[in-house]
């Protein structure tokens, strides 16, 4: 049986000014083919103006079991948000 082609993650910029967003993945032998497959699979209806493909193996993801230690410390730091601070109503442009 033929060797399995590696997996690539596909990111699309839907229009100028927006960032690329993950949409799915494709199998391809090399980067050029990954772009072609991504184009055929994910942009049949003008979904984008630019594509990124990244070898799936190159992605390091955070561990969901560590979501607490990673993200919870931000929860009690409300002073990072502007609404934490009281400013009298008559003070404008702040």
């Amino acid at each position: 049986m033929s060797q399995q082609w590696p997996l690539w993650e596909v990111f699309i910029r839907t229009k100028g000014g927006l960032s690329h967003r993950h949409v799915g993945s494709v199998h391809a032998a090399d980067p050029d083919m990954a772009i072609r497959h991504a184009r055929d699979t994910y942009t049949r209806r003008m979904e984008g103006v630019s594509l990124w493909v990244v070898p799936s193996a190159a992605i390091t993801a955070s561990d969901p079991a560590q979501a607490g230690p990673l993200f919870e410390p931000a929860a009690d730091k409300v002073y990072r948000h502007p609404t934490f601070y009281t400013v009298p109503d008559h003070i404008k442009h702040i």
Binding site: Q3, W5, L7, G24, A29, D30, T41, S56, P64
Partner: protein, 326 residues
């Protein structure tokens, strides 16, 4: 998506810790999405692999009955539309295969399961497409039934599956409308064309109702799938919904649904319909459908005939990376 990592973990979950299981059940019950790297019970993973790969296989096999009409479509417009629809089905298979791969199975394993006959696909594709009207009936009824099934799956509990279904549903509605348009055109055509449309409806009606699967009291996987929010509606609920919306569509173009027991009930706002021939359904599931063998032969031939292309692309990629390394 993070397939390789998951594959390493796949065999580890034999004894499932009660607290993980309880946390998982609570998350699902609260309508949270489960993502590839989250802990999940082995049976949940297996159920999803089975359902999602069957779904992907159905999209692949679904290209065959329609594909054979591309060269015989009655106009350039119809040909362009059918080509786009068949291409969509291929795309849908790819979304679903890659979503399934996030569960730790490989594309190769899934395709091998299909070609060796271990995996199932929708029984509907084991019926032949005899006339052009069948292409209309498939779009209208088969895609219509598929949409009925797929809309609730956009909220299925497994994130990658739900996201694939959002894309699929967005693309699917043109499939149904183009099918109905074909039927509409035939229904106002010559008497012969109208007969052709009626004949296609006669042959595709019951198989379409069977697409929703066995009745609730005989559907072994339903209860667990509902609890895990993999499924959101039961087979019979969806079937009823399909009948309720489709019968008026047939009547509107002067076609009649081939069911002498079909009856509208003003008080409930629903139709009741005749008994489904479940013997036929199970026979088709067992692979005894009229063109089941032909479908798998066509699939295997496409795969084998394409082997040299895959090998050449692999060799080219290897040569290129050797050159870059040098």
């Amino acid at each position: 998506m993070y397939t390789t990592e998951l594959q390493k973990q796949a065999g580890v979950t034999t004894a499932e810790p009660a607290e993980l299981l309880a946390a998982f059940e609570a998350r699902v019950a609260a309508d949270e999405f489960i993502e590839p790297k989250d802990w999940m019970p082995d049976a949940y993973r297996r159920t999803l692999v089975r359902q999602m790969s069957q779904h992907a296989h159905s999209e692949v096999v679904g290209m065959l009955p329609e594909g054979n009409w591309i060269t015989r479509a009655p106009s350039l417009r119809r040909k362009a539309v059918l080509l786009a629809k068949v291409q969509d089905e291929g795309g849908h298979a790819l979304y679903l295969y890659s979503a399934t791969e996030t569960l730790g199975t490989s594309r190769e394993e899934m395709i091998d399961a299909l070609h060796s006959g271990r995996a199932k696909y929708s029984t509907i594709f084991n019926y032949p497409t005899l006339t052009w009207a069948d292409i209309g009936a498939i779009g209208w009824l088969v895609d219509g039934a598929a949409i009925m099934n797929q809309v609730p799956l956009q909220r299925t509990s497994y994130g990658p599956y739900a996201r694939a279904m959002v894309r699929i549903c967005k693309e699917e509605s043109f499939h149904q409308r183009q099918g109905y348009e074909i039927m509409m055109a035939l229904a106002v055509g010559t008497p012969e064309q109208k007969r052709m449309a009626q004949d296609a409806l006669n042959r595709w009606w019951w198989p379409s109702l069977m697409m929703f699967g066995p009745p609730d009291d005989n559907s072994p996987n339903s209860a667990q799938s509902m609890r895990w929010r993999i499924k959101r509606d039961t087979n019979d609920q969806l079937r009823q919904k399909f009948v309720d919306v489709t019968v008026p569509q047939a009547e509107a173009i002067g076609l009649s649904v081939p069911d002498p027991d079909l009856k509208w009930h003003e008080d409930t706002g629903h139709y009741t319909f005749g008994a489904i021939d479940w013997e036929e359904f199970y026979a088709v599931v067992r692979g005894e459908g009229p063109v089941a063998r032909e479908r798998m032969q066509a699939r295997r031939k496409a795969w084998d005939d394409g082997a040299w292309v895959r090998d050449a692309a692999t060799a080219h990629a290897e040569k290129r990376s050797r050159r870059q390394a040098a």
